[in-house]
């Protein structure tokens, strides 16, 4: 199989950061910025490498749209075992996710990849747009928020999708396709310092976009003027039953919406060994959609 992975280098958000709300710019506080491969992209890379190890003759190519100083994620991919890495030089009027996607799609179109793997969102801007936009531009099926791969054969694959509140679904998709993976889709493997150093010694090829990229396809993003948030829809909240007396209604509001607890009414005491108790607790939380 021919596999493509899209990666990005991001600032380590576990370190102190400052965000400028108006410009959206993120700056790491400290002397030297500490960068890493975006964790979800790293999961996507692991998935692609797993497929390669199961299907002999497969090939993993890794792309990143970035300036020369942001090649860290590509070096990491090389050290981790990617066959080819390539940097796509940003176009002059680079304007965020749409132009990133446009460049990646332009590079990959015609290259006949069976599977394009992306991270579902980045640590920094979290727009979660690049993967879906690539799929749209290349007119390929897409699966977002992908978890673990269940099955992968030549023409199709079956993948778990992560939904809200702990729910999930299994999706079968025909290849070629674009998948965006969540960070927990694959465990990351250790990459030794020696291999990283070896990778750093290599030259990364650079691809320059054809200058007459269809500029008309670039959507307006982000505009320089501040956007107003949309009119928020009313989320239905708890309210006391209208048939209750005024005093009861106030009492319920004061109690934060809880019914005054009658002993034994809403509570149960469970006894048993820890395995049984943890199983019951898990079922309760799952049943009430807490997890």
């Amino acid at each position: 199989m021919k596999l493509a992975v899209c990666v990005k280098e991001v600032l380590d958000s576990r370190l102190p950061l400052q965000v400028f709300p108006d410009s959206g710019q993120i700056v790491q506080l400290g002397t030297e910025p500490i960068k890493l491969i975006n964790p979800a992209d790293r999961a996507a890379l692991e998935i692609a490498l797993n497929i390669r190890s199961q299907q002999p003759g497969s090939r993993v190519e890794v792309f990143s749209v970035c300036d020369a100083v942001q090649e860290g994620a590509l070096y990491f991919a090389l050290a981790r075992g990617a066959d080819v890495v390539e940097r796509l030089a940003p176009i002059a009027e680079h304007i965020g996710p749409p132009s990133t996607a446009l460049l990646l799609a332009a590079r990959m179109s015609g290259a006949k990849f069976d599977l394009i793997c992306c991270g579902d969102e980045t640590l920094d801007n979290s727009s979660a747009m690049v993967g879906p936009l690539i799929a749209e531009l290349l007119d390929l099926p897409q699966v977002t928020s992908a978890g673990r791969l269940r099955e992968c054969s030549k023409g199709k694959l079956i993948v778990e999708r992560k939904l809200d509140r702990g729910h999930g679904e299994l999706v079968e998709v025909e290849l070629p396709a674009v998948l965006t993976f969540k960070v927990e889709a694959a465990e990351s493997q250790y990459v030794s310092f020696r291999r990283l150093e070896q990778a750093r010694g290599k030259d990364i090829p650079v691809w320059h976009a054809d200058l007459d990229l269809p500029a008309r396809k670039l959507p307006q993003w982000p505009s320089s003027e501040k956007k107003l948030p949309p009119r928020a829809r009313v989320k239905k909240k708890f309210m006391p039953d209208a048939s209750l007396s005024a005093a009861e209604r106030v009492k319920m509001i004061m109690a934060g919406g809880m019914q005054p607890q009658q002993s034994g009414q809403n509570s149960a005491v469970l006894e048993g060994n820890p395995d049984y108790l943890s199983e019951q607790l898990f079922r309760f939380l799952k049943h009430h959609e807490f997890i």
Binding site: S126, L228, V234, K237, M239, V250, M254, G257
Partner: protein
């Protein structure tokens, strides 16, 4: 990365006016007026809010459109007199200078109040008294109604002439417009009563006449309740119907939706929800109204923090958020939120006894946390000291911390001694009571501030005269607080099963199920201890020599406290005082009748007589240092509000 306060700091259009953010200070009475005019004190109070960055200021709670509306009890603005116009102009200019949009509220309170200051009878739709004030109003005749409607329009014109951007009609708190709406106070059988259309006729006449008078380029909003929490009153279903009709009528530009009503004491307490209520507790009401109207809606009710406010907006419960008390506690909240300085925001804790509870007593509002409120002319600026001094503060309670904060801000070098291992003083005890956790907000903020400012805090250091003098202080401020007072009642100090309310909250409780609480202090000490014990399933009775248990608890705090105590099975008996304890027998005397009874059915006696100053250090230090102050409870045991104001005042003098 998205802006944390995407909604809160986006502008919104109300008719022709653009409000720069969604933060609103709603109309409230301040009792700052001079002869019914919004003079300098009122203006300075609002200038701070405008400077702090609030987008919309709705001013002058319940200002009167007509002399028949009670005005003197709360000293509201008298909007029925042309002499108000120059005051309004000066006021509006000041607000506009800082980019705030400014509206004024006008109303006729109808039967809500007393006639014992104006000597004009109260008026209402029907001769039904308000349960809260208990004075029967005279009935408005057809020609009286015409007079009132015209007075509304005239007052609105004065507001416009005064340079304001809009006017708000109050139809909340059971004022005259909503007295006409209410099925429990309008029993007329003419065209102004009967079905909803009839009951809404008066309100619509007012709206139409006001709109006609002010023209198109002026905002006219309305304040309504979302559920008045009164039996047989205006519940949410009726209010959604009323709001829908007003919206469809098309002359009102925004809806400002409260919970509760001024009609009964429990409903009045809900109007300005204290720390007994959850945060943003009435946003579901504004959310429901917002679903049926086309105009912007202001969500109201304990929105004390920009994070809560943003959630209310993002969840569509309102287009704007009322943060009135939050802006009293910290007028600079909008600016600080915008700059991401959330830790620096002095968060309103919903204590209420410094603001709204004082207003209901007819005395100027303040803030238990923010001593500047009402004294902006004197205290809004905090100038640096002419000479840097070495200041020693003894005591890490609220008074000590406020003194240290102010002294440090003025540039002094400050050392603070606290004998225990944590700051907070009595707040550490008070916050242990049920529903009083938020009480610690003031302590948390003060501690964060003095740590940030670099006050030298010495915990576990019980200061002695020598320790203080060893610091070579130029000024010393003693704030060593108080301990529970044990009065010389025979047998009390020796009684094995008697404990103070403080000890109860600290968990030092003698065994036994039957508890008698003596409430002499009159505040929330005894009720808090009683509820703490009720939650342990003990049988609790409170007695007091006063007319009622918790006699001095403010009107917006007492109903929720009573509601919980009675729901938990507490017994309360007024007018009895503790006389003596003899061999397991407790003698009580009726405060008025003088007759005595004996009680032998008590396992635990809890007493609350107020505090006794811990002033040994203060007395020993006086005269030994050049500049010396004793502040807060160690000066005389009083409330948190006193402690903060006093500490602030003296720390400014150093």
């Amino acid at each position: 990365m998205p802006n944390q306060f995407e909604y809160l700091f986006s502008p919104i259009q109300i008719r022709s006016k653009t409000v720069k953010n969604r933060i609103v200070s709603t109309a409230h009475v301040t009792v700052f007026t001079e002869n019914g005019m919004p003079a300098e004190r009122e203006r300075r109070y609002y200038v701070e809010k405008a400077k702090g960055g609030a987008g919309l200021l709705i001013c002058f709670g319940s200002s009167s459109i007509h002399p028949t509306s009670p005005a003197l009890d709360w000293k509201v603005v008298e909007m029925y007199d042309d002499r108000v116009i120059p005051y309004l102009q000066r006021f509006a200019d000041s607000m506009h200078e800082y980019g705030a949009v400014v509206f004024a509220q006008i109303t006729h309170r109808g039967r809500r109040g007393h006639s014992n200051l104006s000597w004009q009878r109260l008026v209402g739709p029907s001769p039904v008294k308000e349960p809260n004030h208990r004075e029967v109003p005279g009935v408005l005749r057809r020609e009286d109604i015409e007079m009132v409607v015209q007075a509304f329009a005239d007052a609105a014109v004065r507001v416009k002439k005064g340079g304001f951007d809009g006017v708000e009609l109050s139809a909340a708190h059971c004022h005259l417009i909503d007295q006409f709406w209410g099925p429990n106070c309008n029993f007329r059988n003419d065209e102004f009563g009967g079905d909803l259309e009839g009951r809404m006729r008066f309100g619509f006449m007012v709206i139409e006449r006001v709109r006609e008078a002010v023209g198109d380029d002026f905002v006219v909003g309305i304040r309504i309740t979302g559920d008045d929490f009164v039996e047989g009153g205006l519940n949410n279903q009726i209010m959604c119907e009323i709001a829908q009709r007003i919206s469809a009528h098309g002359m009102i530009d925004y809806f400002n939706v409260i919970g509760g009503s001024g009609e009964t004491l429990p409903a009045e307490a809900a109007c300005v929800p204290s720390m007994n209520f959850p945060l943003a507790c009435f946003s579901y009401l504004s959310g429901n109204i917002r679903e049926v109207v086309n105009q912007p809606v202001i969500a109201v009710g304990r929105i004390n923090d920009p994070v809560v406010a943003e959630r209310v907006l993002a969840e569509g419960q309102g287009d704007l958020v009322a943060m009135t008390r939050a802006l009293i506690a910290d007028p600079y909240l909008p600016m600080k939120a915008r700059e991401g300085r959330l830790d620096d925001i002095r968060q309103c804790m919903g204590y209420n006894e410094g603001c709204i509870d004082r207003q209901y007593m007819g005395i100027p509002i303040g803030c238990v946390q923010n001593p500047v409120i009402g004294y902006e002319a004197e205290w809004a600026d905090l100038p640096k000291a002419a000479a840097i001094k070495r200041v020693v503060v003894v005591g890490g309670g609220p008074a000590g911390m406020e003194a240290a904060r102010v002294a440090r801000l003025r540039g002094h070098d400050v050392v603070l001694f606290e004998k225990s291992d944590r700051l907070g003083g009595q707040l550490k005890i008070a916050k242990l009571a049920p529903k009083r956790t938020d009480y610690d907000g003031v302590g948390r903020w003060l501690e964060i501030q003095i740590r940030k400012l670099g006050v030298d805090i010495r915990l576990g250091a019980e200061a002695t005269v020598q320790m203080v003098l060893n610091e070579n202080p130029d000024a010393v401020l003693v704030a060593t607080g108080a301990v529970p007072l044990v009065p010389p009642i025979p047998g009390l100090s020796e009684c094995q099963y008697a404990v103070s309310a403080w000890d109860v909250l600290l968990g030092k409780i003698p065994p036994g199920n039957r508890v008698l609480v003596i409430d002499d202090q009159g505040g929330q000490e005894s009720t808090a201890a009683a509820e703490f014990l009720l939650d342990q399933k003990r049988v609790v009775e409170i007695i007091t020599p006063h007319y009622s248990v918790g006699e001095d608890i403010g009107p917006t705090n007492k109903p929720p406290v009573y509601a919980r105590l009675y729901a938990k099975g507490c017994k309360m008996q007024a007018t009895w005082e503790l006389r003596a304890i003899e061999n397991g027998t407790i003698r009580l005397r009726n405060y008025y009748g003088g007759n005595e009874i004996e009680r032998t059915d008590v396992d635990v006696l809890v007493y609350s007589f107020g505090g006794r100053s811990v002033d040994e250090l203060a007395l020993a230090l006086e005269g030994q240092v050049t500049e010396f102050y004793n502040v807060g409870d160690s000066y005389a045991p009083r409330s948190l509000h006193h402690a903060i104001v006093e500490a602030h005042k003296y720390a400014r003098q150093i």
